[in-house]
């Protein structure tokens, strides 16, 4: 029995969440749906950790779905890169679920709560599927599952503008998915295969073919939309700002991250042998957009009055950091990007949790309504300061580790402009974080502001857990760095 389970751990990672979603739909009771979603997420975290340990021990795991051998059947192919992604997604999910109960109860009408948990599980299944699969078409299917469920989750927001935000995301997301599938179609046309490993072998033979280059362009733009790389980011700030707090937390920690992973997979594993970085100058193109994101989005974040929007713009900037690391196409740069993907997932999810706590108590996330909040919600605001340090990249936080490697990689490459951009972006981060901190700590609460108390422990504990983990991996980063370097090497395997 245990042998059976260990062999089939890989598909279980997706199947469990996929099966649990309709169960929630049938249960209908909020508490029961929550219990199912929480239990499943925690089991999935256990499986993801087991898979990571397994990969660390024995190397890449291959699993042929339905026993149909690749390249005809769908293959799950788990190396360090996607094992790490699975852990990130399930880790954030595991922290979000205990937090969600109180927050969702306050923000979503009771009769729709079970729908939220159903959509959450579908989203989780989609994200995990995107991470685990070794098949480009299968990736499209999971991309759609996760996208469709996230449109629904965003539109569950109490705010009416959540509907327009979701609609906008739907349009942009669909364009992105369409671009992606067009690209996949072209690849199929040129090579006759959909399996990533198989494609990696076939694509070099088609070198110089315009079809393949156009496919690459379509896929890059399509996934660029999903991961919100500036200038394809227009959907993200509103979606994050108007979604229910829990949805913002979960999407900020996972959604864009998996899209980034998918792009890395395509660029390095599938197109790795095609020399797109050397001949095509893709690195320069991506790094230019990354730099624009790092500086532009940080600058815009400074002027936001809604703190959730501020954090959303900050996310765009941080995605820029990750993409900058990736665009270097060196082990050092890639591992910096990957470790920042992890650190930023924890930090940003933690910060959105802070905003959820504040919204629960004050029904606002406007910077003006945060005045003097540090006196009445000290534990919550301290978490904001701690998370903010992470975004700035203060030593002993995860953000510092990311920045250290990113700068080191940029120095190694001799990309001086990128170094300057990283530094300017950190300075801008100090400003936008400090605006919030000053409001909360240095101003007095308005006299007619409602009396508020500290958020419940069920929300504070997961929030501090994420922040705490991000600090732990800032102080003792050997484990995350070893995994990130291993993941980068796995992804770059196609190139070297």
């Amino acid at each position: 029995m245990s042998a059976f389970i260990t062999t089939h751990l890989a598909p279980l990672q997706v199947v469990l969440a996929l099966l649990a979603a309709p169960v929630c739909l049938l249960l209908r009771r909020p508490k029961a749906a929550w219990a199912v979603a929480t239990g499943i997420t925690w089991i999935l975290l256990g499986i993801a950790l087991a898979l990571l340990a397994w990969v660390l021990e024995t190397g890449t795991i291959l699993y042929a779905l339905g026993n149909w051998p690749a390249p005809w059947g769908i293959e799950y192919r788990i190396d360090l890169a996607n094992a790490f992604m699975l852990v990130i997604v399930t880790l954030v999910g595991s922290a979000v679920m205990p937090y969600a109960r109180a927050s969702i109860a306050a923000e979503i009408p009771e009769e729709r709560i079970y729908l939220f948990y159903c959509m959450y599980l579908l989203n989780l299944a989609g994200l995990l599927g995107m991470a685990i699969t070794g098949d480009v078409f299968n990736l499209f299917v999971f991309l759609e599952i996760s996208s469709l469920s996230s449109y629904v989750m965003i539109s569950l927001g109490r705010d009416r503008s959540a509907l327009t935000a979701a609609y906008r995301y739907l349009i942009m997301g669909t364009i992105g998915a369409t671009f992606y599938i067009i690209g996949v179609g072209m690849m199929y046309m040129a090579t006759g295969s959909l399996n990533m490993a198989d494609l990696a072998n076939l694509i070099p033979a088609t070198a110089g073919s315009r079809t393949i280059l156009v496919a690459l362009a379509f896929i890059t733009v399509g996934l660029g939309l999903k991961l919100a790389l500036v200038p394809l980011h227009m959907w993200l700030p509103n979606a994050y700002a108007h979604a229910p707090s829990v949805v913002s937390v979960f999407l900020a920690g996972t959604g864009t991250k998996i899209a980034i992973y998918a792009l890395m997979r395509i660029l390095f594993t599938v197109f790795g042998g095609a020399g797109v970085f050397d001949d095509f100058g893709l690195g320069e193109i991506l790094s230019a957009f990354a730099v624009i994101a790092m500086i532009g989005a940080s600058a815009v974040a400074i002027y936001q009055t809604n703190v959730k929007r501020l954090l959303a713009y900050s996310s765009l900037a941080q995605i820029g950091y990750i993409m900058l690391g990736i665009s270097m196409a060196s082990v050092l740069g890639m591992s910096a990007g990957i470790v920042h993907l992890f650190n930023h997932a924890l930090i940003k999810a933690g910060l959105f949790m802070v905003m959820g706590c504040i919204y629960l108590r004050t029904e606002s996330v406007k910077i003006d309504d945060l005045k003097g909040l540090a006196k009445v919600m000290p534990v919550t605001m301290a978490a904001f300061v701690a998370g903010g340090f992470g975004l700035i990249g203060v030593p002993l936080t995860g953000g510092f580790i990311s920045k250290w490697y990113l700068l080191q990689a940029a120095i190694e490459k001799g990309w001086w402009l990128a170094i300057i951009a990283i530094l300017i972006s950190s300075l801008l981060a100090i400003i936008y974080i400090w605006r919030v901190v000053e409001a909360a700590y240095f101003q007095d609460r308005d006299e007619n502001a409602p009396a508020v108390s500290e958020a419940p422990w069920s929300m504070l504990a997961p929030m501090w857990m994420l922040i705490g983990v991000s600090f732990y991996f800032g102080i003792h980063a050997t484990l995350t760095m070893d995994v990130a370097i291993g993941a980068a090497e796995a992804l770059l395997g196609g190139i070297q």
Partner: protein, 503 residues
């Protein structure tokens, strides 16, 4: 206890103290006892490490690997001993002073104050004992962050503005310049350990070396090299004990200390001597000395004058190090101790005046020496040390500094020192003169007009000496300033070891 344990306990003691302070915050007497006990324990631990120096040992302890190949580690070496010694000793004295000041001045949130103060001391000790540049950088940033709540203690708009400048400059320079320099060094050499002779020796030269050197010098914003000095006057909105210990000793000396460390252990004096590109530091620090003195001369606010005097005195350390002769590097190390005692005395005096009389301007100090003889007597000693006259520690610095400058043939440095001495005399001695030899005009007016006394604010103008805790503290530091002149062996011996001589 093994040496390694002592080092770790030295860094941890103030942290434990901070924890105790937070827990027993609502009982002020026990809380202050916790601060004092931590101070005494810390000083005891640091003093225990001193004998190792005589045997020329440099024990090392690694905490854990923070990044693959890079550990958070501590190492004892002479310069760190000087810094840790003065920081831990003066923490005790400042704590005594704080009790008088914070209570006499009726400050709010005293628990928070003592809590962050203890954390800042821990960070300072961490900097002093840092075994590599990464550890130094980590504690450098912890020091910045932990002192921010102290600078903005009063919570007023002024404090907020001061805090912005403080955090903006210190964090900005450290993130933009210093971090880049550290990572660059790491990718050039593959090590960040402080090594005699310098780890960059032979690894970098020409324009990149010049850029790297500039990144370090301006990145260490705590050394207040112009144009990145504005945070120091901005920090003067803090309660006076903070200005005294942190912004005359711990924080600013962390900056000067880091600069000397970088020059001696990262670049290596010999490398810099060969490398023409580092010569500009002499001029920048010389300019800072003169310009800051001129600003000090023109400011009427006493704490602001002291702050600019600190900016100027910090550049003595940098100038001394930049001369790059062994004797001047000794002067740099010694001045870290000498200036600490002198300047903390001056700040203590400024705080005493404020608590006793509510006066903050130089122009208000006429005749105050007769009311506060201890305070102003100590002020006089501190002022002498700033000018560099015997019988105070400042004279010893100046002696070695000038010797070093002559040895190296740096006439520009000699000129700067002479001019600066005159300027220092120009802005300190008139205060002393006015305090002792001028009549107090307001007091005379008061005798004539009894109604001038505000009934709601007790007659602040009719005052005597400051609270006894404060007087004790400033007497100790004034005595220390003289003692360093009479018995300079302790820091001088260490300074000699730093440049490779035997004590």
């Amino acid at each position: 206890m093994s040496v390694e344990q002592i080092i770790l306990y030295a860094v941890l003691t103030p942290l434990v103290g901070a924890g105790l302070i937070a827990v027993i915050g609502d009982r002020p007497n026990i809380r202050e006892a916790a601060t004092l006990v931590s101070g005494v324990v810390l000083f005891g631990l640091v003093a225990n490490l001193y004998p190792l120096m005589a045997n020329e040992q440099t024990p090392q302890v690694s905490l854990f690997e923070m990044l693959p190949g890079l550990s958070l580690s501590f190492q004892i070496e002479p310069l760190g001993m000087i810094f840790a010694g003065i920081a831990s000793f003066l923490w005790i004295v400042t704590s005594i002073y704080s009790i008088g000041y914070m209570r006499g001045h009726h400050e709010k949130n005293q628990t928070r104050f003592y809590f962050f103060f203890a954390i800042a001391i821990s960070a300072a000790i961490g900097i002093a004992f840092a075994g590599n540049m990464l550890t130094l950088f980590v504690f450098y940033e912890v020091l910045t962050i932990s002192t921010f709540p102290l600078v903005t203690h009063s919570g007023t708009d002024d404090a907020k503005r001061g805090g912005r400048v403080y955090l903006g400059i210190l964090m900005g320079t450290s993130i933009v310049f210093l971090l880049t320099a550290v990572i660059w060094t790491w990718s050039l050499t593959g090590t960040l350990d402080f090594t005699a002779g310098g780890i960059l020796a032979g690894k970098v030269d020409g324009p990149p070396a010049a850029i790297l050197f500039a990144l370090y010098m301006f990145g260490i914003g705590k050394a207040a090299l112009m144009p990145f000095h504005r945070w120091l006057p901005a920090a003067m909105v803090a309660p006076t004990p903070v200005s005294a210990l942190l912004h005359a000793v711990a924080v600013v000396k962390a900056g000067a200390f880091s600069i000397v460390k970088v020059i001696v252990y990262i670049f290596g004096v010999e490398t810099l001597t060969r490398e023409f590109s580092s010569g500009w530091l002499l001029y920048v620090s010389g300019f800072t000395i003169i310009a800051a003195s001129i600003v000090a001369l023109r400011s009427d606010n006493l704490k602001r004058r002291l702050a600019y005097s600190t900016v100027s005195q910090l550049s003595y350390v940098v100038l001394a190090a930049a001369i790059l002769s062994p004797i001047s590097v000794m002067a740099a190390a010694f001045h870290i101790a000498a200036h600490a005692f002198g300047k903390i005395t001056l700040f203590f005096a400024a705080g005493s005046i404020m608590v006793a009389s509510n006066k903050t301007l130089v122009s208000q100090l006429d005749g105050i020496g007769r009311r506060m003889p201890w305070t102003m007597g100590a002020f006089f000693i501190g002022a002498l040390s700033m000018i560099g006259l015997p019988p105070t520690a400042g004279f010893v610095t100046k002696w070695y500094l000038l010797t070093g400058a002559f040895d190296a043939g740096q006439m520009v440095a000699v000129g700067v020192i002479v001019l600066s001495t005159l300027l220092n005399a120009g802005y300190f001695l008139p205060i002393v003169y006015a305090a002792f030899f001028r009549k107090d005009p307001t007091a005379a007016a008061l005798v004539a007009d009894e109604t001038a006394i505000d009934k709601h604010h007790p007659p602040l103008l009719i005052h005597g000496e400051a609270p006894v805790f404060m007087v004790i503290a400033l007497s100790i530091t004034a005595a220390g300033t003289v003692a360093l002149f009479l018995f300079p062996d302790w820091p001088l011996g260490l300074a000699q070891q730093l440049v490779g001589g035997t004590p």
